[in-house]
């Protein structure tokens, strides 16, 4: 059984794509991550042109972020004002990102850039996660008490101008850091086809000093709007969003995420984080190998 993808211009087995969406959805539900950073390389490994993988993945992230974000919204765990500030930066960042993407495509270097960027991105994040989770695991097994989460003392962030009051986060902080953070995340999301939660969540906790109970909800809020903008931009500027592929991934993803979330509560947090770190590093190694190994053909043929 095959389904023809009109934009990717290839036939795929719908069951395989559903399973891929389901697997990544499961992992994202279990670990509480977006999954874009796993889905995009997986699509590329499967043979989808990288540009279409990035554009289509953006639409899938919108769906899974809405699905996950609604629960936070109902519990009022979203700082809308902060989210809006982040989105304003994110919108600008995504426009720049899509333009860079388009330019790279014209130069014919987009495939290489995506592989290279993912390799470094995943290697760094995976490494950091592994060291952090191993440290936490050792601490947990040695019986030492868990580190209390300290609110950071006043630093350079507080010296910045243009301050605003954010009620929900109980913060009085300059708009510049959230806008800059939103911009960077928007830029990366547009080029790599990720949600950006990986960068945003730690940055919100440590850079902006937001209370942890609103961080995930607000992060999802930002991701929904920015990836929606990215989807429209990629569709308009590059014509690389494949609705049929997106819907198949969506279907598998939301179902998988529900099972993953249920499974996730049963495992210990440190083990989960270590597993995820290993997975991320595994993907990074595979990408790195593809970049360094002598290719099958010395010539690469692509669109003009």
């Amino acid at each position: 059984m095959q389904i023809y993808l009109p934009i990717a211009e290839m036939s795929v087995n719908p069951l395989t794509v559903l399973a891929m969406g389901g697997a990544v959805g499961f992992l994202s539900g279990m670990f509480g991550v977006g999954g874009g950073f796993l889905m995009t390389p997986l699509l590329i490994f499967y043979g989808v042109p990288p540009a279409v993988a990035v554009g289509t993945e953006a639409s899938q992230i919108v769906a899974s972020s809405v699905s996950g974000g609604l629960a936070h919204w109902r519990r009022k765990a979203v700082d809308v004002k902060m989210g809006a500030t982040l989105v304003s930066g994110g919108a600008a960042g995504s426009i720049v990102g899509v333009l860079i993407f388009r330019r790279l495509r014209e130069l014919g270097q987009i495939d290489l850039f995506i592989s290279l960027a993912y390799f470094f991105f995943l290697a760094i994040i995976g490494g950091l996660m592994l060291t952090e989770s191993v440290r936490a695991w050792r601490r947990a097994t040695s019986g030492a008490p868990a580190l209390a989460k300290k609110r950071r003392r006043r630093g350079w962030v507080d010296a910045l101008p243009l301050k605003q009051r954010y009620q929900r986060s109980q913060l009085y902080i300059s708009v510049l850091p959230p806008i800059a953070l939103g911009f960077i995340v928007g830029l990366l999301s547009a080029i790599l086809g990720v949600g950006g939660g990986f960068i945003m969540v730690p940055a919100m906790i440590y850079l902006l000093n937001m209370p942890t109970n609103v961080v995930i909800g607000t992060s999802l809020f930002q991701i929904i709007f920015v990836t929606a903008i990215i989807t429209v931009l990629h569709a308009t500027a590059n014509q690389t969003v494949d609705i049929v592929l997106g819907m198949l991934l969506l279907l598998g993803g939301v179902v998988g995420a529900q099972f993953g979330a249920r499974m996730g509560v049963r495992l210990r947090s440190e083990q989960l984080r270590a597993l995820l770190a290993l997975l991320v590093l595994g993907v990074a190694v595979r990408l790195g190998y593809d970049l360094i190994a002598t290719p099958a053909s010395l010539y690469v043929v692509g669109a003009s």
Partner: protein
């Protein structure tokens, strides 16, 4: 004298009339099983039958069938190792057929002389590829010969690489033994178009061969196009991209909302 001239003229006219009656059209005919290959949502390739016959005074020893797909421009780049990583170099823009099929009742090299092969542009090495260092339509505006040629010795390597890539993708097919001849004058070829076959107008050329040369020929086109929902989505994505983008987002929002509602604890 007048009578002799008259007789000579009548003879000449009679001979020429006889010659005109043997036009190439009624010596070879070709038909297709399907003039339109429709790509719908379940498309995974299509089987096309090409058949026909050689008639009249022509007697062919072999048949060659060639199918050429629509012209396409691609960019081919050479990979170089830079600081441990394999990077792609500057693009060479190549215009050529996006699909090519050549098959005969015997191996093509055995049926045609090399000169005849080159004349008819049959064989991967005889195909006409136009190279330029800038993409069309800019290349058309520039008269400089340097633009219209890739670096000299690389030309052969680039052509070979392009042909190899197309063969791997399954859109360049040669000598697959899918052509049969019956009763000395009827023939049939079976082509399996792959699922990634390009969209556009294809040309079918059939040749009756004797003594290393083509003595009769015929041609007919067919069309490969997306239909229905696939066509609609493709057109929407390319002609009304903004609306298509909004539609994608709308679907995603609804799907996410529905999923959250369905799985609500």
């Amino acid at each position: 004298m007048k009578r002799m001239i008259g007789l000579a003229l009548a003879l000449l006219m009679g001979l020429s009339a006889g010659a005109l009656a043997n036009t190439p059209d009624d010596e070879m005919a070709v038909w297709l099983s399907e003039p339109l290959i429709a790509i719908d949502s379940g498309f995974s390739g299509a089987r096309l039958f090409i058949f026909g016959g050689v008639s009249g005074e022509a007697r062919a020893d072999g048949i060659i069938v060639v199918v050429r797909g629509p012209e396409e421009e691609v960019a081919i780049r050479k990979r170089e190792r830079v600081a441990g990583f394999w990077l792609s170099g500057a693009p060479n823009h190549v215009a050529g057929p996006s699909f090519y099929f050549a098959d005969g009742t015997d191996k093509i090299e055995a049926l045609l002389t090399p000169a005849e092969r080159a004349r008819l542009e049959i064989g991967a090495d005889a195909l006409d590829f136009g190279f330029s260092s800038v993409p069309q339509p800019e290349a058309d505006k520039i008269d400089n010969k340097a633009v219209h040629q890739a670096a000299g010795p690389d030309l052969k390597a680039l052509t070979a690489a392009l042909v190899a890539d197309r063969q791997r993708s399954g859109v360049f097919i040669e000598n697959v033994g899918a052509t049969e001849m019956r009763a000395g004058s009827l023939f049939r070829t079976t082509i399996d178009l792959p699922s990634n076959t390009p969209v556009g107008i294809y040309q079918v050329e059939v040749y009756g061969v004797r003594g290393g040369e083509a003595i009769v020929s015929a041609a007919t086109p067919f069309n490969v196009d997306k239909i229905g929902l696939e066509r609609g989505l493709y057109d929407l994505a390319h002609k009304q991209s903004f609306v298509y983008g909004l539609l994608s987002v709308a679907i995603a929002l609804v799907a996410g909302w529905t999923a959250a509602a369905v799985f609500r604890q």
